[in-house]
Amino acid sequence: MNIPIGWKYLAIFIPSVLGLIGLLVLIRFAWKKGTEYVTPRPTLSRPLSIGGAALGIVAALMPWATFVLNEGAYPDKSTLQFFDSPWAVSGFRLHTLLLSLVALAVVFAPIRKHRIHKALGWSLIGIALINAAFIAGNGGGFGAITSDGSSFAFGAVIGLVAGIALVFSGKAGPVEPIPHLSTDVSRVVAYAVLVVSFTALLLGVAMMLNAGGQGGVGNPYAGPIFLSLLAFFAGVLGALHAVGVTGWISRLSDKHKWFSIVVLLAVALGLPFTEAGTDYWMTTATNIGVYAATAIGLNIVVGLAGLLDLGYVAFLGIGAFVAANFSGAAAAKMGFELPFLVAVIIAAIVAGVFGAVVGSPTLRVRGDYLAIVTLAFGEIFKKSAQNDIGGLTGGANAIPGVPPINWFGLSFDKPLEIAGVKLPSGVMYYVLIIVLVALVMVVFANLKNSRIGRSWIAIREDEDAARAMGIKTGKAKILAFLIGATLAGVAGAVFAHKTSTVAYDSFQFIESVTLLAAVILGGMGSIPGAVLGAALLLVLPEKLREFADYRLILFGFALILIMRFRPQGLVPDKHRRAELANEGAEGVPIEELNLPDDTPGGAKAQVAR
C-alpha cells in the first residue's frame, strides 16, 4: 500500500518546524549568555567596538555576492572582487562603511558611547541580514553569500559579526543615560535647527521613496535597497537619539510649536520639488492623504471614544459616491455639476448623517456588539452600492469618468510649471490633500483638547464612571461617529475626483481593516500616528513588491504583535508617552511588565510602587 504523500511532507515539516524553533531558542540563549557575560565587564567595551568597527569597514569593502544573479547584477557592484575595485563602494556598502567609520570615530570621541554603538550595531545587523537574505534567497543558497569555489563574498557575514560586536560593546558596562540638551537657545538657533532637521527629514523621505526606483523589471532589487536604506536611517536616528539630539529637536519643536507646524507644512509642500516628485509618488501620496484623513476620522471613533468600527470605509464610499454624483460625470444621477467645494460639503453632511444613524445603536448596544453592527453596515453599504441602489452608485458599472477638479481653469490632473520648475501631474491633488490632512489634524487636535474630547476619552476609559460624571454618553458616542464620518466623507470627495472611477469594490471590508490597522499602528488617539500608519501601510507594499502576496498576512501579524507588545502604537499620544517615560530600571516599558497574570507579585508591586 502506498503511503499518501501528506505523511511524507508531515515527516519533513514537523522536524523542520521543531528545528527552527530550536535554532531560535539557541540564538536567544546564546544572546542572553553573551549579554550576561559582557554586562559586568566594561573593559570589554573598547576592544569590542574597535573590532566591530574595523570588521564593518572590511565588510563594506568586501564583495557581498559571489556571482551575478539571474535577475541581474546585485546593486552597488557587490559582485566585484576586492582587488577589482578596492574602493568602489556605494549604496548599502557605503552605508555600511559610514556606520563603521562613525562607530570607530565615536570610540575616540569624548561622549557616552554605549547607546550609539548599540544603534549603529543594530543598523549593521539589519543591513547585513536584509542583503544576505535577498542574495541567498535569489541566488539559491548560502553559496551566494559565502564562496562558490572560484570567488568569495563574505561581506554580509562579516557585516553581521561586526554588528553583533558593536551591539555587545554597547552592552558592556552600565547603561548610560541619554544626555539632556538644553532648549535655552536663541530663537535664531532654534529656528535654524528646526528648518535644517525638517528639511533633512524631507530629503530622507524623498531618498527612501526613490531608493531602488519603482521596482518592477528595471529595478529587481528595489526591495532590499529600500530596506537597507531604512536600516541605515534607523541606525543614524538611533545614534542621534543616543546623543540626545532627537529629544532636543522634539523639545525645541514643542517649544516653538507654530513655527514647527509652518515649517512642516512647507516641507510637505516641498516634496514635489525633490527627486520623489514623480507622477507616481504624487498619486501614492494623495492616496496616503485620503487614507490618512479617513484614518484620523476613525481615530476619533476608535482612538478617542474607544468604539470599534469595522465598516468605516463605507463613509469614505458615501463621500465618494455623493461627490461623483454631483461631478457632472456622464453616469452620475444628478445631471448637473456642482462646484467642488459645495460637493465636498454635501458629501460631508450626507456621510455625517449616516454616521449618526450607524452610531445610534450605541445608545442601547454594548460596545463589542457595536463592532458587529458597524461591520454589518459596511456590508450593507457594499451590497447596496453593488446593486446600484437608487441609481446612485452605478452598480457593477461604477461611476466612471469623474472629471478632475478644476479651479480657475487649473485642471488638477495636469502637470504644472512654477517658476521654471516642472512639477508632475497630480501635484495639485497632492497640495489639496496636504491642506486637507492639515485641516483634519487641526480638527482632531482641537476636539481632543476640549470638553468633548475629554468626554470621549472618559467613555473609552470607563463608561460607567463617565456617566457618573454627568456625561451623556449616548449623545457623546453618536457625536464621535458623526464627526468621524464627516471627515471620511470629505476625504471621499477628493478620492472620487482623484481616482476618476468610483466603484463599490474600492470600499470592502479589508479596506476598513486597513484603516483600523493604520490607526493602531500609528497609535490610538495619536494625531501624527494615523498619518504615519497610513503612510506605512501604503508605501511599504509599494516598495516591497516581492512580498506583495504576503501583504495581508503580514498585516494580520502586525495587528497581533502590536496589540501584544506595543499597544500604544509607533507614535503614542501624549498620555501613553507619559507612561513610557516611566520606564522600569531596565528600560522595560510598564506595559510589558504587567502582562501575564502569573507574574509573581513582586514585579507589579515594584512598578506600582
Binding site: 480638527v443 482641537n446 476636539l447 476640549s450 470638553r451 468633548i452 474630547g453 475629554r454 468626554s455 476619552i457 472618559a458 476609559e461 470607563d462 460607567d464 464612571a465 463617565a466 456617566r467 457618573a468 460624571m469 454627568g470 456625561i471 451623556k472 454618553t473 457625536l479 464627526i483 498620555h575 501613553r576 507619559a578 507612561e579 516611566n582 510598564i590 504587567n594 507579585g601 507589579k604 508591586a605 512598578v607 506600582a608 510602587r609
Partner: protein, 294 residues
C-alpha cells in the same frame, strides 16, 4: 445660602426596591441636611449598595422616591450628577490613562458649556471657559492635597492619592450632595485619618456627605448622623453615640459587645491595609466588581 436647616437637601422617603421576588430595600427613609455627614452602615447584603444605586440614579425605586431639594431625582446617572449628586466608587474608577487634572476636568464636564462647534474652533470664549475650568480644577486638586501632581497619569498615582483624586473629580461637578462608597477601603490608619480630615473640610464647603463604610470606627468618629441598614430595612438611626449604644445594632450587626468589635475592626484595618498596599495592582488590571458587596 438660602436653604433653611430644616428643609433637607436629600430626602429618601419609603424607598422600596424589589428584584424579582426579592425585596432588597423596604421603606427606607433618610433625610440629609446641608453640611451634614451621614454614615450608612450595615452587614453584608443589607442593601447598602442597592440603596446607594437608588441615590445615584442607577436604579429607580420600585416604590417611594428620592428627592433632591424637593425634586425627584431623574433615573439616569448623568442627569443625577447634573442635578447635584456626585459620587465616588467603592473600587476606584478613575480614567487611568488621563492625567489627574484631566480626570478632574472630566468631572467639570456638566458645568461647562462649550458645544462641538466651539470645540472645533477654539475661539476666545472657548479659551476663557477652558481656562476657568482649569483654574477651578487646579484649586480642587489643591484642596484634596494633590497639588503639583496635576500632570501625573491617574494610573501612576499611589492608592491613597487615587482615592483623593476621585473625590476631587466628584467635587468638580459642584455637587450639593457627595456620596462616598467605602472611601477608606484599603487605607492604612494614617491615610484613613487624612481622609477623615478631608471629608470634614468638604463639609465646611456646605456640601452634604453620605458615607458608606465597613469601618465602623471611622463612621462613628466622622459622622453627624448614622443609619444602620439590616436586611433592607432601616434598623436604627441617630447620632453616633445613640447608634453605637443601641443593643439591636450590637446584636444584629456587630453580634458582640462594642469593645470587642472595636478591637477586631482595628486589627482588620491594620492587617488589610498592610496586605493591600503590597499587592496593589495598576488600576486598569482591576475588574469592575459585579455585585458590589463581598
Amino acid at each position: 445660602m438660602t436653604a433653611t436647616s430644616n428643609a433637607p437637601v436629600l430626602a429618601a422617603s419609603n424607598v422600596t426596591m424589589v428584584f424579582g421576588g426579592l425585596t432588597a430595600l423596604k421603606d427606607v427613609n433618610i433625610e440629609l441636611h446641608e453640611g451634614q455627614i451621614l454614615g450608612l452602615i450595615g452587614p453584608n447584603g443589607a442593601g447598602k449598595t442597592t440603596f446607594f444605586n437608588c441615590l445615584t440614579g442607577l436604579y429607580t425605586p420600585t416604590r417611594g422616591s428620592v428627592r433632591l431639594k424637593g425634586r425627584t431625582l431623574p433615573s439616569d446617572p448623568a442627569q443625577v450628577t447634573v442635578a447635584g449628586v456626585a459620587r465616588t466608587f467603592q473600587n476606584i474608577r478613575l480614567f487611568p490613562s488621563m492625567t489627574a487634572l484631566e480626570n478632574v476636568l472630566v468631572g467639570r464636564h456638566s458645568r461647562m458649556k462649550q458645544g462641538p462647534i466651539a470645540s472645533l474652533f477654539h475661539g476666545p470664549s472657548f479659551k476663557k471657559g477652558e481656562a476657568d475650568a482649569r483654574t477651578r480644577c487646579l484649586e480642587l486638586l489643591d484642596f484634596v492635597g494633590l497639588s503639583g501632581l496635576d500632570d501625573e497619569l491617574a494610573r501612576n498615582l499611589p492608592y491613597g492619592d487615587q482615592r483623593r483624586l476621585e473625590i476631587a473629580r466628584a467635587l468638580a461637578t459642584d455637587p450639593a450632595v457627595l456620596l462616598l462608597d467605602e472611601p477608606t477601603a484599603g487605607m492604612n490608619p494614617q491615610e484613613t485619618e487624612a481622609a477623615r480630615q478631608l471629608i470634614l473640610s468638604i463639609r465646611e464647603l456646605g456640601i452634604a456627605v453620605v458615607v458608606i463604610e465597613h469601618d465602623t470606627k471611622f463612621i462613628f468618629s466622622l459622622c453627624d448622623h448614622v443609619s444602620v441598614l439590616v436586611q433592607g430595612e432601616l434598623l436604627v438611626e441617630g447620632s453616633p453615640e445613640v447608634v453605637r449604644g443601641d443593643p439591636r445594632v450590637i446584636e444584629a450587626y456587630l453580634g458582640k459587645p462594642p469593645e470587642e468589635v472595636q478591637a477586631e475592626v482595628d486589627a482588620y484595618a491594620a492587617e488589610s491595609s498592610a496586605e493591600r498596599t503590597s499587592i496593589i495592582e495598576p488600576i486598569r488590571d482591576r475588574r469592575p466588581n459585579e455585585g458590589g458587596q463581598q
